[in-house]
Amino acid sequence: MTPVSRDRPFLALVAILVIVAVAMPLLAGTPFALSRYLANAIGQLASFAVLALALDLIWGYLGILSLGHGLFFAMGGYVMAMYLLKHSFVVTGTVPDFLQFMGWKDFPFYWAGFDFFPYALAVAVAVTLLVSGVFGYVSFRSRVGGVYFAIITQALVYVAMLLMFRNDTGFGGNNGMTGFSVLFGWPMGTSGMITALSVVSLLVLASVLLGCRLLVGSRFGALMLATRDDETRLRTLGYETLRLKLIVWCLSALIAMVAGMLYVPQVGIINPRLLSPELSLEIAVWVAIGGRGHLVGAVIGALLVNAVKFWLSFAAPEVWPFILSGLIVLVVLVFPNGLIDLAKLKLVRPMGARRMAAELEEAR
């Protein structure tokens, strides 16, 4: 694998992210400043890109397709939302909606302590590790993989969605939670806060990119690729693939959780829709379109697809689903490696040869 220092496209991407992150606050106040809407959009796109990275880590490099990563995204999101609401309540005294319409006098007991951010963060990490750890351990131990695993993750995220839709679970139910007014003591909604969140998201994206790149470039990364290509052989050589898969799976879950924590303050609401099976499927689509197995591809796929979606759901809402389905079919059939193929303009390769190459990659 190309060492990081020589991987030009990767370095270029990281550089772009850092430059934009630095430029945004500097340009604020000048006539070239980005509008609040655009700054906010960039921040949201960045958090989606982090989520795509999380999936690419296990799908591109381990060969495990999870169609339920929305679960971990939502875990991060919900914990962040709980912190924001509790914190806003402590600072401003506004009682959240869901308490009012449920007729509850106090926050349920499991909300205690959430106005203290380190505690909230610790809870998020603990819950994510617990769920991903248990689920991963049980699944990998019974050698559940491939399509089965994908379907089960869909069912898992669907179950979570059903649970969270219930108002009596105390997380706002279908209404979700909104009305976040204060973050770390500062009011939300100001230009400064929007820019700050956006910058943080970009920087987090850049660091996660760097971290993942270092991981997959290391010896551990080589083992990951070996697991993806032929797990049996690797096991025959004496490696403990269960631990390997579990570690990467939990890491991926944590990254998705971080993405969720970045996303929620910027979008201003959390709602069980984040747990819909469709969203989790879409993450796979972003990665597939961008090019799985290439971190850069995952980021670009996420940025591109979501940017087009933002634009189209305003400009031409009827058209978006058709474009998305067309794009997916195109990628799956003609550009199996996503945009990477397009970038290399390898259309002339005969379908058969390309198909064989793709099949080799997808051993299962």
């Binding site: 496209p9 509008s35 449920m102 219930r166 609401i269 290439h294 940017a307």
Partner: protein
Amino acid sequence: MVKFSRRSFLQASGLAAAGLASPVGMPAVLRSAQAQSGPVKLGCLFSSSGTMANLEGRLNYVVKMAADEINAKGGVNGRTIEVLVSDPASDWPLYAQTAKQMLQQEKVAALFGCWTSVSRKTVLPVVEQEGGLLYYPLHFEGDENSKNVVYVNSPPASSVLPAVDYLMSDDGVSAKRFFMLGSDYVWPRTINKQLKGYWASKGIPESAWKEEYVPFGFSNFQTLVNQIRAFADQGGGQPVVVLTVVGNSIPDFMREFANQGILATDIPVLGLDMVEADLEGLDTSKLVGHLNCWAYLQNAAGPANEAFLKSWAGYVGANKVPFSPDVSIDPMVSAYDSVHLWAMAAAKAGSFDVPEVSKAFAGLSFDCPSGYKISMTGENNYVARGVFIGSVNDKQGFDILWQSKDTPTPVPFSPYG
């Protein structure tokens, strides 16, 4: 790991940049220059896809129709109205996103949107932060009074309590037992909370009511209808069902109810979100007598309604609108009223700035197709509407069982919750 060439990477990132440099990315400064002259923009937040599409989709067209009417009379303050339509796809966070886009990018003068309370609650922080104005055309649970929202339709005091009172009275069915069945979100939960408070204030014991919630989009009501029958069979007085499910759950429930042989004369159902559009596709001969309560019913008498129905039918035909020209529901009329109310306020204020327009609300009044003269006071942003109690007939419509003499003053905060 595959090695990229610089050219190929630039191509790839060029695509990404192109995505961002779409109209979304145009610097704000270029856009605001447009805002001072030319048409004034109004934004719609009604879904054309997803669970709410069948109901909300119509409202986009009604707003456009109202805008056309106003433009035909010369527009507002010398400018024509342009209606921007979007599709939040029944996805609540997307309502907030789209609202932000419309207020920040497109600089719309007012927003007309939302059906479910959850979508309104999502948009609320956005309009408050941006200082925008949202006209909300649905009847709802009240308990809210933002100065950035105009509540065009009735809170429970004028949309739920009249019907419940009617059912409990001797003229009604002398109801003594209540089965509350709702979709699990803020509106049904709040309504039921208020109703329980109301009944407690009348000395009705807790054993006389039962509450059940189902998820959005739930359709398998077999067991629940069995439960309703068991509840009814316990005796102790006439039972009624207070139905606060929404969307497709309404026709699914009514179908199961009829299939199990229960008539309105056995157990009447008060469908608080049931409109004429929900009866499309149902055999209503077995549903005759069930009730609803709105500020407008299609069978309302009077020239204003006749004119509205005619305009709507004409508009549907002329513009190939994918909805029935013969069905008109309360939210459509409320959306129609909203546009006119806004135009009147803007004309009275001589400006489109939200604070000026808001000051002009006091004393506005408009001839609603319902036959009532709806009005606003300076006290809050609620609109005083008439009240109708409708009864399902066998032609998939509602007959008017009772209507209020005039428009009662809206009560934003329920004393019973």
